[in-house]
Amino acid sequence: MTATKTKPKPLVIPELCKGCGRCIEACPQGCFTLGSEINPESGLIPVVLDLEKCNACGLCFTACPEPFGLTPVADIPHPEDVDHEAFMMGEATIRDDHYPDEIPPQKIPMPDLPPLFIKGTYASAIGALLAGCRHFYGYPITPSTEGAELMAKVLPDLEGTFVQAVSEVATVNMMYGCGGAGLPCMTFTSSPGFSLMLEGISYMIGAEVPGVFVNIMRGGPGLGNIAPEQSDIKLVSRGLGHGNTHAISLAASSPQEMLDLTMLAFELTFKYRNPVVLLGDGYLGQISGKVTLPREMVKPGLPSWAVYGDAEHRKNLICSIALSEKELETHNYKLTDKYQRMIDNEQRAELYRCHDAEVLIIAANTPARMARGAVGQLREKGIRAGLFRPITIWPFPIGLLLPLLDQVKEIVVVEASNGQLEDEMRLALSHEHVVDLPLIDHIRHFGGVLPQLEEIVDHISKDNLFEDSEKNGNAWKKGGRS
């Protein structure tokens, strides 16, 4: 004999019922009538329920907008459950693993086009367009605004969105919304504006929302100036807002890379459901160079998790809140695992004449351009120099640096900041338990003054270490290495 299940009949909880009357419309039997008495506890006027004609159809449960205002008799909530997150946030917080099918992005071949001669910010904007980005939000700030201006020109004709927001705070939250809908979006900003975006970036990371931030770094702290500095390496590596946050940050050093890395940034931001930062500096945003267009462009897909605003994606939820301690810890373990996957898979660096280098110059962005020239001149002087150029600042490409350490006798970190890049390198070395360090020296500049080629050459060739080494065999002064 098949088991029969009695369907529950409704019960009005007078303290929670606002008397909106949706159940009156929903009930085919006319069991509900508008109330006429004020509930002394809530001050509201609840509906009146007469169960005589009720056939337990259940239509009233779905009609009631108030959680537990109208409830199946079997499900009367225990008072303690009223504090439960599902009660606070609605049923949707109980995450559903069933997602609609993902529409993957498509690569579309590009015709052969002649190279362009454009400035860095334009190259990045074109990279974004070729990566399928049609949604731009931003706020004017020198020296990044030209990228936004190009987007303002072309996006309206590409059925895209360009919004000049009222501030960087508004910008990042527009990106939070757009990214949450599963669409590729971006902004151009510069250091002070990036500072303002950090709160929103923390929310985006927490809610696992993609978005590309192009930060044309300028001199700081505070208002600083509009000249190049690598002032935000610390922020993008260690300070992306509050909480357990990380994001891949890519450092370009030519207009060509501004394009290529912007395209890569869009790929990575969707791959990991995490914001990606592209770092340029004041010069890189402004200098023009030859830029070869890629062979393929991208038609974006639609991820299954997107809150796209259609029936299929109705079940999805984007949020960074997890009220219960256990749930939030689990979420953080998940994020931490994701960061580890980035560390394991996404380290990138350019190694220039490093195969036999004894002196390794470490530099990124515009200072790397000077360092590259210095390597050639040092080699002419008989000093075996090489350039190690991190392309991912976070994760620091330590996996590519470690194999070089056996032959390297000195590392010189050349940067336009107060040692922010060197700190990242030292932290990465420490995480890898490298105690046997080569000597670490540095050239640092601030405020738009950049390390010059001659300065790097002089600094390294004047280093007595090398003359000593030739005279005294291998008597290296090495920090920690005996």
């Binding site: 201006e149 303002a152 360009f162 009222v166 002070p192 208002l223």
Partner: protein, 324 residues
């Protein structure tokens, strides 16, 4: 005869501040920029009121207009984008004896700083806020601002702006506790000087919106006002500004408006056919937050100690008795 000597007529020991005493570094604004006119009006006010430079502070945000404190030889605070008002409020709360002036641009005040602006009106602290409104972002090289007229072509609005310009007059006059709102154009020095002077003498938060030319990026924006003075409606009153005879011959379009009438002020603020210039609203009776919060009595060191001890006693634990 009348026992008159030079000493009796002029107190030669009394130090008088001259315009030079308020002139800081040489302005680097473009020639023809309206900011220069505002600077000159403000320096004149300081000289006329003999404001001691060490008792005067100019606070600004970010933008062309916000270079202002650099060009004054008073105290200055070149602050953050949109945050000039909170900085000035912080100064005023602790140093009510200082004369506080705020210089903001339209992007500064009406875009990123809007929340601070609304609440500065509600706080109604004693200070003068001057909004240099040129309807464009000049420092970042021509992007539309919230006060850009609809259709303005800029680098971020190549098809023209889509929205009606924000009307700062309506915003000011719509916020609780608004106590002074005036509108001026920078190219009529007489009226500008008068308005800024009355703003300075107002008790409470005096907000002056100054329409200001940007000769580089929007050289024709104010042409309708410059070429046809009848597009400017001068609001005069015995409690407001008085139009000089000479100015009256040029600005023939003038009406009498009692600045205590907020309904009428809102009516003028909402007009699209003309630009009202003058004091639209003034009410010195609105309570000022800095005055409300000023200590009403003196606190001796003993009283302060007692307050702290009373608070600490609530949380102190007697270890001996708890162990016993």
């Amino acid at each position: 005869m009348f026992n008159v000597s030079l000493e009796n007529l002029v107190d030669i020991d009394l130090e008088q501040y001259s315009l030079q005493d308020y002139q800081g570094s040489t302005p680097r604004w473009c020639s023809g920029c309206g900011d220069n006119a505002i600077l000159s009006a403000v320096q004149k006010l300081c000289r006329d009121e003999q404001l001691p430079p060490e008792k005067t502070v100019f606070v600004s945000g970010i933008g062309c207009s916000s270079r202002f404190p650099h060009y004054m030889k008073t105290y200055g605070f070149h602050g953050l984008h949109g945050r000039a008002l909170p900085i000035a409020q912080g100064i005023k709360m602790h140093r009510p004896d200082l004369h506080v002036f705020v210089n903001m641009g339209d992007g500064d005040c009406c875009s990123i700083g809007t929340a601070h602006w609304i609440h500065a009106l509600r706080y109604n602290m004693n200070m003068v806020a001057i909004m240099h409104d040129n309807g464009i972002y000049g420092l970042t090289k021509k992007q539309a601002s919230p006060t850009s007229p609809k259709g303005l072509v800029s680098n971020t609005t190549p098809q023209g702006t889509y929205m009606e310009a924000l009307n700062p007059a309506m915003v000011n006059l719509g916020v609780t506790n608004v106590s002074f709102f005036a509108q001026a154009v920078e190219w009529v020095p007489d009226m500008l000087n008068d308005i800024i002077s009355q703003a300075y003498h107002h008790r409470g938060f005096a907000f002056v919106r100054v329409l200001q030319r940007c000769p580089h990026f929007t050289p024709t924006m104010f042409d309708p006002l410059l070429s046809n003075p009848n597009n400017i409606l001068v609001l005069e009153h015995e409690n407001g500004i008085k139009l000089s005879e000479a100015a009256g011959r040029i600005y023939k379009n003038h009406e009498s408006h009692d600045p205590s009438d907020i309904q009428k002020a809102r009516e003028y603020a909402g007009r699209h056919d003309i630009v009202p210039v003058g004091i639209l609203y003034r009410n010195p009776e609105v309570p000022c937050y800095d005055e409300i919060r000023r200590p009403k009595r003196v606190f001796t060191p003993e009283m302060k100690e007692a307050v702290l001890n009373r608070e600490f006693d609530k949380f102190s634990v007697d270890i001996d008795s708890s162990e016993g």
